[in-house]
């Protein structure tokens, strides 16, 4: 009880402080330049809403960043991770939309699983990415590979896969695997998807068992767990998904400089660059699923100064000497997008036009009874 009383008092004091600050601000707003307005989180506890369970990729990502970002924020607050799982991450994001206060003490960790249902217009979604301000985007990459039993040696033979009996073990058509399923469809490969896997790891296991013969993994999993299979001659990498350049174009993945990216693979098969509705949809989901897979967001109405303070803090974290080596296990070797760059990436993902959106929903419904 004592503790709670103290916290209660601290809370009252805090709100008093803010209101006094607000009053002073109101009175002297004209006289003050915006730079003089100090954002200070000293003694605060910042909550990072994590719409996933403890453990797992996004939680690990959030717990990696939380202390680093907190350290660089003005006043050096404490940042804690608050897990609100459920609804394939829509529950936590819904709560964030509904309850988060725009004072910089509530942030959201979002992932591909939060973004996909939003783009697809899932009925469980009650949040709007357009309301939020992104301060950080963490990219990852992905590689599609096949079993050596299919009798091809490299991506040059990709055309030979047409008409072969291909199986892919998937978590679900509207999960991150949408990017893979759609990519293979765009390459005219006839792939039978077997659903119900709990995570990409199980899909890889099915590949190793020989139950399926085509699979895709994110970069870090590919390097640690599939590369040994490649070295043994059991797996043949086909193409990477590439990375999103600042000009909005897809480029080769720095982790796999010798592997063509998806657009190159498409050109090998079709002889021309992709420009269909299907491709535009794919690109949108590729960004949401890979190029800007995880992100840190501030809620609607957060003052620009606070957003600025966060962007600067994240920039400092990323620029710290030694960060890259420290972060390698969690983030992989990718450039983190900060502030406006992160905003740009998410905007790019949400840019999907109505025709492409209608196409993808129809594709998911007719092919996989997705019920959208």
């Amino acid at each position: 009880m004592k503790k709670s009383n103290q916290t209660l008092i601290a809370n009252v004091a805090r709100s008093l402080r803010t209101s006094i600050a607000a009053a002073t601000l109101g009175a002297g707003a004209l006289a003050l330049s915006s730079a003089a307005l100090a954002v200070d989180f000293a003694g605060d506890r910042i909550e990072m809403v994590m719409p996933f369970k403890e453990g797992g990729g996004s939680d690990t990502w959030g717990r990696f960043y939380a202390p680093l970002v907190a350290e660089q924020l003005p006043g050096g607050p404490v940042m804690v991770v608050k897990n609100i799982p459920g609804g394939g991450s829509t529950s936590g994001a819904n709560q964030f939309q509904l309850r988060a206060k725009p004072d910089g003490r509530d942030v959201l960790a979002s992932s591909a699983s939060t973004m996909f249902p939003y783009i697809l217009g899932d009925s469980r979604v009650r949040y709007d990415y357009k309301d939020w301000a992104a301060v950080l985007a963490s990219p990852t990459g992905g590689v599609v590979y096949v079993s050596a039993d299919l009798g091809i040696d490299s991506v040059a033979d990709i055309a030979k896969l047409k008409g072969q009996d291909l199986k892919f073990a998937s978590q679900g058509a509207t999960s991150m695997d949408l990017v893979t399923l759609l990519a293979l469809d765009l390459l005219d490969m006839d792939v039978k998807a077997v659903f119900g896997m709990k995570g990409r790891g199980e899909g890889r296991l099915a590949f190793e068992r020989g139950e399926v013969n085509i699979d895709a993994q994110t970069t870090s999993a590919f390097i640690k767990k599939v590369q040994p299979l490649v070295d043994e001659g059991k797996a043949i990498p086909l193409f990477s998904y590439g990375v999103l350049g600042k000009d909005g174009k897809i480029k080769r993945d720095p982790n796999f400089p010798n592997l063509p990216h998806f657009v190159e693979a498409y050109e090998m098969v079709h002889g021309q660059a992709p420009n269909s509705e299907a491709f535009r949809a794919w690109k949108s989901f590729f960004i949401a699923g890979y190029a800007a897979q995880k992100g840190l967001f501030l809620p609607k109405g957060t003052p620009d100064e606070v957003v600025q303070a966060y962007s600067e803090a994240v920039a400092k974290v990323v620029a710290k000497p030694g960060f890259e080596t420290e972060a390698d296990d969690v983030l992989g070797n990718y450039e983190q997008a900060v502030g406006d760059d992160a905003q740009m990436m998410f905007a790019e993902a949400l840019k999907i036009d109505d025709a492409a959106k209608a196409w993808i929903i129809d594709w998911l419904n007719s092919r996989y009874s997705a019920g959208l």
Partner: protein, 665 residues
């Protein structure tokens, strides 16, 4: 090889390592004793500190925590009948009856020494097994895993109780409740009424608490006595240790089962306990009293579930696939520390793997040892009058249920499953069978669908599948034999001491419940036809079969077949109906309903405070001062815990309407 083993052994036995390990164990025990939190909460409390720590020390703390999860859970499952996690559900079956008979210390002694043995044996087995585990795990595909779920399901025969037909129907209710939510093949939402909570399916923890803990709490409250029937403890923890020594082969067999089944990714550890329990029932020759406080029913699951934690390390380390929630957090911790699982863990990193495996064994020794030491005192909890304990237990159960998805839906689901549990207990629809069905539903459907997609029906001819099928047939054979034997026992030695069995003459309440079950199956069948073929075929098949079975039960009851095994009404058999000191059945269900309703209106914290005051004043008849201090202690504890664990307690309408200061918001 020998060098690796020696250097890992030196690391494990260094003072610094042991100190960190013990730190992790202490933290784990303190948190793990609180049901529903288990080690996951402990791990997430620990995670912020791991970053920046020296990797081997951080690893030691992590392992210390993970190792004691299935150990500290045992306290509440034995003493209070509250299964803290899926790892301790089977322990409740015999552990709690033992506590009620005054043998709490003995049950705990047996449980912890079995845990100790299981943990040590598991580590020993793993040392060799980890080297050959990779090909073995790769040999277990979807087809084999599906057969394994069938093997688990065959335990229903063992746990069915008096009437097999009711046992299978109860299992069917479990399977259908377990397949609520997204269909594995298509993602369509089944039986979920567009409700976001139901779309995710009902969490296992909530089902375990509702089906086992709530009925027991209500039963004890109605009789208004302490958990322990006798006024003092009838035996000590040393008796429990002796029990384990006497049943050492059972414990050893169950440890092996635990390690091997625990190592299979996908099924998780949730069936291990039931397989071990079923194994104990099948292989016991002399006068078993399973379900009524047979110590072997405690030893088997406890030795298996600690060994399982070691087994669960194998897919986590080798493939990066966590088999359970705690392993998922462990994996996250490993990544933060800078250790990446993969094939290298049995190659270049073999030393690290051995360090982990043996640390786990050592943590088991420390954890189970301190629990053994504590059990003498903790078991005295069973002597406290129940009206005084009950509000605390309900608070704990609600809090534990709420951990599942952190929404009010958890509490509503707890209440609904609790009502189902109370009725199943009353009419003797076996609850373990229900739970096995629930646990296995997801895996059964998913693996069957995947196996057919991968291989077609020819998956049935795979050698692994045929071996497991053979074991399943054996298991069913032993189950029938065990059943017949126990049947003979009762007929040969007519129970001279016990009064003749009272049987219900009025079958209407039973028939009403059976009719509700039939209606549920009919609805499930209807719902199955609203979906695509792949989305509905599994539930359609199960509900169709169950409809026939449950109709048979209903018809027997409607015809008034009093002597048929389907007839059972605990109100009559236990003599509650003629005993005026026993409260009526729905009485305490109303209290529980009021609590959940209160959470909906005022939020959890206010509701639990009001509940405490009202309950202690009217039921326990404590003085105002004592009531207020107990309430204050409970609420204060909750607030501190919620703050430390970074979670919002359930909010009510009040909080949506009015801005409240923390912690009331």
């Amino acid at each position: 090889m020998i060098e690796t083993i020696a250097s890992s052994l030196l690391t494990v036995l260094s003072i610094e390592h042991i100190a960190y390990l013990a730190g992790g164990v202490c933290l784990g025990l303190m948190i793990g004793i609180f049901p529903g939190l288990g080690g996951i909460a402990g791990l997430s409390l620990l995670l912020p500190f791991l970053y920046g720590m020296e990797p081997t020390s951080a690893l030691a703390m992590l392992i210390g925590l993970v190792a004691v999860i299935p150990t500290s859970d045992t306290f509440t499952s034995v003493l209070m009948g509250i299964p803290g996690s899926s790892a301790s559900q089977a322990t409740v079956l015999d552990g709690f009856p033992m506590a009620k008979q005054g043998h709490a210390a003995r049950a705990l002694g047996a449980a912890f020494s079995a845990s100790l043995l299981g943990g040590l044996l598991g580590a020993l087995l793993l040392t060799a097994f980890v080297l050959i585990a990779r090909p073995l795990i790769l040999a277990f595909g979807s087809a084999e895993l599906f057969m394994l779920t069938l093997l688990g399901l065959s335990m229903v025969g063992v746990l069915a109780g008096n009437s097999l037909i009711k046992g299978i129907s109860a299992c069917g209710i479990g399977v259908l409740l377990g397949s609520l939510g997204a269909a594995p093949a298509t993602g369509e939402y089944r039986m979920s009424f567009d409700n976001i909570y139901l779309m995710d399916g009902i969490p296992l923890v909530v089902v375990g608490l509702g089906i086992f803990a709530i009925p027991e709490i209500i039963d004890l409250l109605r009789q208004n006595r302490a958990i322990n029937e006798a006024s003092e403890l009838g035996s000590g923890w040393l008796d429990g240790v002796r029990d384990v020594v006497r049943n050492k082969w059972l414990a050893i067999r169950c440890s092996i089962i635990g390690t091997l089944v625990g190592a299979l990714p996908g099924l998780g550890g949730s069936v291990v306990d039931w397989i071990a329990y079923g194994h104990a029932v099948q292989t016991t020759k002399d006068k078993p009293r399973f379900g009524n406080g047979d110590v072997r029913g405690v030893i088997a699951p406890e030795s298996a579930n600690n060994a399982k934690e070691g087994g669960g390390l194998v897919p986590t380390l080798l493939f990066g696939i966590p088999g359970s929630g705690s392993m998922a957090v462990f994996l996250g911790g490993m990544v933060l520390i800078g250790l990446e699982p993969g094939p290298a863990m049995v190659g270049a990193e073999l030393g690290t793997t051995y360090t982990i495996v043996w640390s786990l064994a050592l943590a088991n020794v420390i954890g189970a040892g301190s629990c053994l030491f504590l059990s003498k005192w903790v078991s005295r909890l069973t002597l406290i009058p129940y009206a005084l304990m009950a509000p605390f237990m309900l608070m704990v159960i609600c809090f534990a249920a709420f951990q599942a998805t952190r929404s009010l839906g958890d509490l509503v689901a707890l209440l609904a499953i609790g009502v189902l549990g109370v009725l199943m207990k009353r009419f003797d629809w076996p609850r373990p069978a229900f739970l096995i069905g629930f646990v296995l539903a997801g895996g059964m459907e998913t693996y069957l669908y995947q196996a057919i997609q991968f291989d077609g029906w020819s998956f049935l001819t795979k050698p692994g599948v045929m071996i497991i099928a053979f074991i399943t047939v054996l298991s069913v054979y032993f189950a029938i034999r065990a059943k017949r034997k126990s049947g003979d026992d009762t007929s040969e030695t007519p129970t001279t001491e016990e009064p003749p069995r009272r049987r219900a003459r009025n079958l209407k309440p039973q028939a009403a419940f059976a009719a509700a079950v039939v209606a549920f199956f009919a609805f499930a069948l209807y719902d199955a036809f609203q979906h695509s073929f792949l989305g509905g075929v599994f539930t359609a098949g199960i509900s169709g079969l169950m409809l026939v079975l449950s109709l048979t039960v209903l018809i027997k009851l409607l015809r008034g077949q009093v002597d048929d095994p389907v007839n059972f009404d605990n109100e009559v058999e236990a003599g509650y109906d003629s005993d005026s000191t026993v409260a009526r059945l729905p009485h305490y269900l109303y209290w529980l309903t009021a609590l959940v309703l209160g959470c909906y209106l005022f939020g959890y914290l206010i509701a639990i405070g009001l509940f405490f005051v009202a309950f202690l004043m009217t039921k326990a008849r404590t003085s105002l001062v004592r009531t207020l201090s107990l309430t204050g202690a409970a609420v204060g504890f909750l607030v501190i815990l919620a703050h430390l664990m970074v979670l919002d307690l359930p909010r009510g309408l009040l909080q949506d309407l009015v801005q409240m200061p923390w912690p009331l918001s």
